[in-house]
């Protein structure tokens, strides 16, 4: 699955790449690239506003670093650092994303000066208390779904994705509007078994950064709870030269301040 947090890191899928008749597989591949793999590495400062069904707000501010293993779109590493609120500041997360097995995840809790490895059995837990799921952020593996091109409009592809193992997830399927030129998903809707859409991701603002179309604002709405989370990206940057060593346990305790902004 695709969303925006990582969308900022990608290289624009082949500029003007939308040639006439792409296969579904090709669209899916390019979308995956645009959403998660732009550039070899990147950084963004994210401000997160979670507004619950009663209009009560919570705010979070964090930085995300990304590093892609050389080669085709595959293994990736992420580093997350909390700036605010003050009582969770300096908390960090590290993710080694794998395609063939469960991701490796670590967590640093500064108040206890504790590094913990996280063994999670699924990726559908909340991403730092927001309405985004961990899977939205790290990406859903392409081979977990059947993909189907529902229609092509002047500017968009409409794709439908149906999980191969329906028991592993809550949704029955999800649809995705993909911008033809940038291959960025602009709206994703998750439907339950009765066909009702219960989660919606929409992209609010896209800008071209370093020649790459980049999402600057994305919203996830949970229609069952009425809660919504708006992510705003400040100062996204690509190919900042963040070294692979930053994505190790040692840096969980010691923030790589130079690369965080």
């Amino acid at each position: 699955m695709v969303t925006s947090i990582t969308a900022i890191f990608g290289l624009a899928a082949v500029i003007g790449g939308a040639s006439g008749d792409l296969s579904v597989e090709e669209i899916v591949k390019r979308t995956n690239h645009a959403a998660y793999y732009q550039g070899n590495n990147g950084r963004a400062r994210v401000s997160m506003v979670i507004t619950d069904g009663q209009g009560r707000k919570r705010e979070r501010e964090l930085s995300i670093l990304r590093y892609d293993a050389p080669g085709p779109d595959g293994e990736q590493k992420f580093y997350l650092y909390f700036h605010a609120p003050a009582d969770v500041a300096r908390m960090t997360f590290l993710v080694h994303k794998h395609l063939d097995r469960d991701d490796d995840r670590w967590l640093y809790i500064p108040a206890l000066d504790l590094v913990k490895r996280i063994a999670a059995t699924d990726k559908r837990t909340s991403f730092v208390g927001s309405d985004f799921l961990y899977e939205d952020v790290s990406g859903r593996q392409l081979d977990q779904d059947h993909h189907e091109l529902l229609k092509t409009t002047e500017n968009f592809y409409l794709l439908k994705h149906t999980p191969k193992d329906p028991d592993s997830v809550k949704f029955a399927h999800y649809t995705m509007w993909i911008h033809k030129k940038s291959f960025l998903p602009t709206k994703v809707e998750y439907s339950d078994a009765s066909g009702e859409v219960y989660r919606v991701m929409t992209v609010g603002r896209v800008e071209t950064i370093d020649g790459k179309p980049t999402v600057l604002e994305a919203t996830m709405e949970d229609r069952r709870t009425g809660s919504r989370t708006v992510l705003t990206y400040k100062d996204p940057a690509y190919d900042i030269g963040v070294p692979e060593r930053v994505f190790t346990e040692r840096y969980l305790r010691r923030a790589p301040v130079k690369y965080l902004k």
């Binding site: 996280i118 837990t125 909340s126 305790r253 010691r254």
Partner: protein, 946 residues
Amino acid sequence: MITSTVLLLLLALLPTLSADRFPYLHPVSIDTDPENMLPADEPVRVAHNASKKQFSLHDGIVVGIVNETHPRGVFNVSTLTKVDEITRFAMELEGVVEVDVMSLSTVDSISQAGPGTVRFQWLMAKPPADQAEADDIRSRAMRIPFLRDTLFSADGKALALYIPLRNKNDAHEISVALQSKIDAIGSGDDGFHIAGLPVAEDTFGSEMFIQMAIAAPAAMLVIFLLMWFFFGNLLVILSPMIVAVIAALSTMGLLIVTGNTIHIMSSMIPIFIMPIAVLDAIHIISDFFDRYQHYRDRRKTLVKVLGDLFQPMLFTSLTTTAGFASLALTPIPPVQIFGLFVGFGVLLAWFWTITFIPSFLMLIPEARLEKFGRKERTGDGDSHDDGVALFLARSTSRGAPLIIAGAVLLTAIAFLGISKIEVNDNPTRWFEPDHPIRIADRTMNSHFGGTYNAYLSLKYSPPPYDPDSFAEGLAEKAQRMEEALSAAAEAVQQHLNSLDRGTILDLLDEIDRFVRQRRLSSESAPKRGAWTTLEGWLDWAFASAEDDETPPADGRSELKETLASAAAEMREASSRYRSIVEEVAGQAPETSDDFLAALSLEIETISTSEDRWRVVGTMLSSVQQEKQAFKDPLLLGWVSELQEFIGQHPVVGKSNSLADIVKTVHRDLTSGSEVDYLIPSHRDTVAQTLEQFLSGHRKDDLWHFVTPSFEEAMVWVQLKSGDNRDMQDVVAHLSGYLEGHPPPVDLDEPQWFGLTYINVVWQQKMVSGMIDAFLGSFIVVLTMMTFLFRSISWGILSMLPLTITVALIYGMIGLLGKDYDMPVAVLSSLSLGLAIDYAIHFLARARQLHRELGDWDRAREAVFGEPARAIGRNIIVVGLGFLPLILAPLVPYQTVGYLIASILLLAGGVSLVLLPALMTIGQRWFFAGDADGSGVPEEAPAGSKE
């Protein structure tokens, strides 16, 4: 009469059967919500609803599953598979709050997975494949104190499914769907129980109809048969039946047409109207019966009968109406409606009785009355009731002192009983003990912490604000932070001195360890903050050291220098911060929030991304977070202790709060063993612990226990009993505790909410309201009686039967240990209505006969003729007539059945025995005025009557 009734019924039925066509009319609406015992704008109820919204709580259905046979209890493959299937089924039902469904399948577990690894997973992602997997689920579940005794029993024999509903009116439909799902799966060796207040309410609604459709008609049938037995003429006794039914139906019709709901109270309106309606009619019929053979002329007989009865009947109806209408003084809307409509029905019944019954009797051909009525008296004691009457007449004369003494004694015992009255109610107990709802209630409460929920809401109370002292506080904090920072930097300098000269990176590693260790061992917040700030500085020091291609030869001096200048910069920033605080205070912001907003704006305009401002940012946000009281470990510890105390109460099975979440997550983030099941001692640890909970599958569960601002929190108390008495006791238990254990942070007065508590509030209002209403109507009726008899002493005399009846009824309730609940409470009004009726009839006729006969001894014998017989027939017909209510499926109706019979018996008995005895003893007083035709002198000592 028929027309108006039919019209009312049509107005009520048409919109019910076809709502679209009659949009301006009110359809029948059933209201079984106990919350409606309080007006919608009642502060307690408003607060209850606000808190429910605040913590996103919904009323719901609870499905209990019990397995007593499997050695592993419910933790076996078959049961867990069923649970999973039912959970998934429930989550897809329309109207279910899917995200809040609680079951083994929908909750998270955190556990240790090897050293340094913590595992987040669904407690039961899918049904277990074998017993080993089921055992694993069991052992992980048992480790979550939060769920134990709430979601499953500690003995592993039972588990529960909580299915919250968007709208509790869907409870019936959803429970039916669940039941059919359970039936389809097959229960096997598992026992399934569907419970929860919404289900009880719904069931109650349907049983209410059964009662109205069966019990009330059955009562009418018995009354009918008894009247037939007494008067022997089918045609004649048809008239009271018609009057009673018409009065009841019209009143119910009017109730519906005026848009009122059918409620537990209003459903009893027919039952109250019918005996009272029959009462008046029986007086007429009885008198008519006794006299017809004397006159053998319908018209003459009726003129005589109505001449005698018109005034007493008017007064009995007015007093009864006054008794019921006084219920409008209670603060409970359903009781008000009940009182007003019964009052209306009584007047209606009176009107039809004096108009319809005579007309009806006139229409009966004389031929059919040939054999009707009592034969002329031929001698003494030739019939059974004559014998009784004569016996009463004589014994009340001879035994008067004894009777009065007995009455005084009984009243004294009654008051002893009244002092023992226990006010209590519990909607679940409105069902009979073998009702499935009661069975579910018993079963689940024996396995779990309790199915009755009460919630305690706790709210942070910020200190009073004024800009100057607020600024002072901020400056003081900054000052302390600065001092702590200086001390910390100094400590690092000294530590550096103690180290060998080495490369910067090595030294940094060493300092890093030192700073971290010092931070963790610091107790005070400013010290911890200072060390954290130094860690921030270390991040930068590391970064520049890593980049430095030509590291300095003397790393130590270099580091000492950078640290010194960083510390100086931070101090400078802090002092700048203090002067900004002063500046902002000069603008006199109106609230502390405004103050902080202005401050943060000011700081942003002058600060850049410079390091030194980090310290200021930290100071500011820590102040901003102070309002988040429920991250304060001291306060959480206080909540924990409070829970521990409240848990000692025998009715409290369990309580859950934010503190329990914090402890559980903390335990599993650290060692996973019980020693770490505690509230960590720092605010940031609490925050970071909760952050892990928020990263699970069920983040929103947190917001049931604390608001996102962390200013308000809730303690969920599970009670094993829904008795108001028990809830009240828990409330008292806690308030005593609170007095001796003030919270470490200022809180508003803790507030209870939840239906179990709401029940207590309306019950308290009901008790005091009923006393007011009863006293009010007592005074009104006494005034009316004084007016009717033109005499205070007669007025007081007429009040005696009802006073003693009410005293005896409530005394009996107290002595028997029957709870004083809602039906018992409103019965005082019925007692008043019925008892005064007998007294008026008896006294009015006694006085009249005394005037006619001029002598009390002869009058007494005469009054035990027709008048006493009418009263006697009344007692038997109406008293026995309402015994079928005992067969009603709901306990409140049974109570009414028993009590109506007792009231009639007592009121009648007291009227027929005590009144003549008193009049015999006090005949000089009572009849003093009659001799010369004037009223009784005012100086009659009122107190002497007692």
